[in-house]
């Protein structure tokens, strides 16, 4: 059995980011992959002339659910029950895990197969299953790479995005034989061959599995229909071959009607993998006699979602359909990768969702996440359900700052007070710029300031600053009379205006 690693005890974002930035292989892998997917997404989105209208509809549909949440959940429960499914409710991760472990134990199995699911990642179900002596086999290729590599996921859609083909080959050669069918010794690093190795390794597990565990992309309240959107067919294997199926579903996965899927099935594949449609989508409604699992469970989980719902600004994050478009366009994610966020939800959506699910003001790691952004807004521009991530980030920054009030002013407040004094008067700014320009002692060889003494180290620990120029703009303006006296440049190209006061 494999012992699953968790995100518990991860350092705050600046620490994780610094480590990630020093790993040039990681940066190359992530930059290459996100550039590929950004281009693909842009191409297939441009093919639809109503993409903006689809986004608006999707946001409205999700808001409609949140506005009538109790009714829709009750309707979903009734539809599922009528279709032969057993519905369970879980307040938190521990309760959800207890339910799933209980069902698996009831069937006396020592292994289950799993479809990739963010909800089960979030509740760390694999750890709970392992503690109960039940092996949880991840069957998504990327999840398999992460699991075999004793690694952590770094992307919600492509969890092994930080690994390149030769690293994957090494992991397969080293680890597959320890837990099942070994990879051939002459395995190359061609992605098609690597996928073939995964096919052979997992097939025996699919064919013998009695119990499968999935998440769901959508739950249709009207009909009780669950939807799983996937690429490889491992989802279809898990959803149809075993006798028992347990689906762990966040309460926010609800859409009101079957017809609403016409919106999401156009948005999700294009936003996620940049395809017009993903290879496979499965929908099922409870038990289908003579076809697939004859015992179907659905575990509806809260695990912090009602906390998010109670925040009027933050609740829009519950619209999220886990497509990952926001992380693929994020300049911060592109450079640090997912591990730096120390959470199953990395990137821009993780920077807002994780603090709201966990609560701010509790630990330094969580509180660092709303600051893991340059607020450039690229995430909001691509979000298929119009989550205004920068707005929520700023809102959460306020909450983090507020939660730390009441003692000595922190370095951030001190710095801001200093800044308002400096920018308040032109002469003070000029004096300070002169000072900065002269402080060559702190400027590194590449023209970067790597580290300043405390309390300014709070800033430079997380960022390298470009060194200030030797001469400030204000000094240059005064010396050259607004550029007129600059040597080697024709005077007529310059338009003397008013200099700084």
């Amino acid at each position: 059995m494999i012992a699953t690693r968790t995100f518990v005890g991860m350092p705050p974002f600046p620490v994780g980011a610094k480590k990630a930035l020093a790993d040039s292989q990681l940066r190359a892998n992530i930059a290459g992959a996100t550039q590929t997917i950004r281009a693909k997404r842009a191409r297939v989105v441009a093919e639809l002339d109503d993409f903006e209208q689809l986004r608006a509809a999707a946001a409205d549909i999700k808001d409609e659910v949140l506005g009538g949440f109790v009714g829709y959940l009750q309707q979903a429960e009734a539809s599922l029950t009528a279709a032969g499914a057993t519905v369970h409710w879980a307040r938190d991760a521990a309760e959800a895990n207890q339910i799933v472990v209980g069902i698996a134990r009831g069937h006396k199995v020592d292994e289950v197969v799993k479809v990739k699911s963010m909800a089960t990642q979030e509740i760390e179900l694999n750890v709970a299953l392992e503690a109960a002596g039940i092996a949880a086999w991840e069957t998504d290729l990327a999840e398999l790479i992460v699991q075999l590599g004793d690694d952590l996921p770094s992307h919600i859609l492509v969890p092994a995005i930080h690994r390149n083909r030769s690293e994957v080959r090494e992991i397969f050669l080293r680890e597959m034989g320890k837990v099942g069918m070994a990879a051939d010794g002459d395995l190359s690093d061609e992605p098609a061959e690597l996928a073939g190795a995964a096919r052979r390794h997992l097939r025996e597990k699919f064919l013998r599995a009695k119990v499968a565990i999935s998440g769901a992309n959508f739950l249709v309240a009207e009909t009780g229909t669950l939807v799983v959107v996937e690429s490889e067919g491992n989802g279809r294997m898990c959803l149809t071959l075993p006798e028992v199926l347990i689906s762990v579903v966040g309460i926010e996965k609800i859409v009101p009607t079957w017809a609403d899927l016409e919106v999401f099935m156009q948005l999700l594949p294009r936003s996620a993998t940049g395809e017009r449609m993903n290879p496979y989508t499965s929908t099922w409604t409870g038990v289908t006699p003579g076809d697939g699992p004859q015992e179907v469970h659905v575990v509806l989980i809260d695990n912090g979602r009602t906390k998010v719902l109670a925040d009027p600004v933050g609740r829009q994050a519950l619209r999220c359909i886990r497509c990952s478009a926001c992380m693929n366009v994020c300049p911060v994610y592109e450079r640090t990768g997912g591990h730096a966020y120390g959470s199953v939800y990395p990137g821009p959506i993780g920077a807002i969702l994780t603090p709201m699910l966990r609560g701010v003001g509790v630990d330094a790691q969580t509180d660092s996440l709303p600051f893991a952004s340059s607020l450039c807004g690229a995430c909001y521009e691509v979000c298929p359900v119009l989550i205004n991530i920068p707005e929520v980030l700023i809102h959460l920054r306020e909450q983090v700052v507020d939660s730390h009030r009441g003692g000595v002013p922190g370095a951030l407040q001190a710095a801001m007070t200093g800044a308002s004094w400096t920018f308040g008067g032109g002469r003070r700014l000029a004096a300070l710029q002169t000072l900065a320009g002269l402080s060559s002692a702190v400027i590194g060889r590449r023209g970067l300031i790597g580290r300043l003494p405390a309390p300014l180290s709070r800033w430079t620990d997380a960022r390298d600053l470009p060194a200030p120029p030797r001469e400030s703009f204000r000094k240059w303006w005064t010396r050259t009379d607004g550029g007129l006296k600059e040597t080697g440049l024709p005077a007529e190209r310059h338009h003397p205006g008013r200099g700084p006061k």
């Binding site: 002339d49 959940l73 290729l141 390149n164 690429s231 099935m265 609740r315």
Partner: protein, 208 residues
């Protein structure tokens, strides 16, 4: 208090207002294409799947061509016998084949419920001629016969046509090309767990 009651109580106390305006639905409900069938064919081929277009009297021959490299073929109950070529080694699914038995079969031959031109998708609702869901999953090749009138412009029209199936409890499988993954360096690779080969026969009305 039960978990259910407590979660519902937490939601009530969040006091989320219902959206003031209704759901904006001014997206295209019908996508018009100059040549719907040609687009469908091109989009299916984009996924590296094969498409053969044929008049009704050529279906069996087209199917034979698709199955040329398959020895044993499973055909679900209810599949139109006039579409089945002579001389196939056919396995039925009555009584249901075990997963391991299916794993030993080379190909599966089915019909479908809906085709989507814009996305190159075929949808099965697993009624007559389509079989249980595992039939089109475990064998390494899937040959699917679709008629021109089943091909719609885009997803909203497909969702509308599939509504009755879903509401009567039928499961659906949406298939866009062969099994694929983008998990290694985000480049699409065909062939993981589902059928690695997808061949579609599109039946068009005779022009005469």
């Amino acid at each position: 208090m039960s978990a259910r009651e407590q979660i519902l109580a937490r939601i009530r106390s969040a006091q989320v207002p219902a959206p003031a305006t209704g759901i904006r639905r001014d997206y295209s409900h019908v996508r018009e294409h100059d040549d719907r069938l040609a687009l469908f064919v091109a989009r299916v081929q984009d996924y590296k799947a094969t498409v053969i277009r044929t008049p009704p009297d050529g279906v069996a021959a087209a199917v034979a061509k698709c199955l040329v490299d398959a020895r044993q073929v499973v055909i679900p109950p209810g599949f139109d016998p006039s579409w089945v070529p002579e001389g196939l080694d056919i396995v039925g699914d009555q009584p249901p084949l075990s997963a391991s038995e299916l794993d030993g079969v080379d190909a599966v031959l089915t019909c479908a419920m809906v085709g989507i031109a814009e996305t190159g998708t075929i949808v099965l609702d697993h009624t007559a001629g389509m079989g249980r869901r595992t039939l089109t999953l475990v064998p390494d090749m899937h040959v699917c016969v679709l008629t021109a009138d089943q091909v719609v412009g885009d997803v909203p029209e497909a969702v509308a046509r599939l509504s009755a199936s879903v509401k009567s409890g039928r499961p659906l499988t949406w298939i866009s090309g062969g099994s694929a993954t983008v998990d290694i360096e985000l480049s699409r690779v065909e062939g993981v767990h589902g059928p690695r080969t997808l061949r579609v026969v599109l039946v068009e009305p005779s022009t005469t």
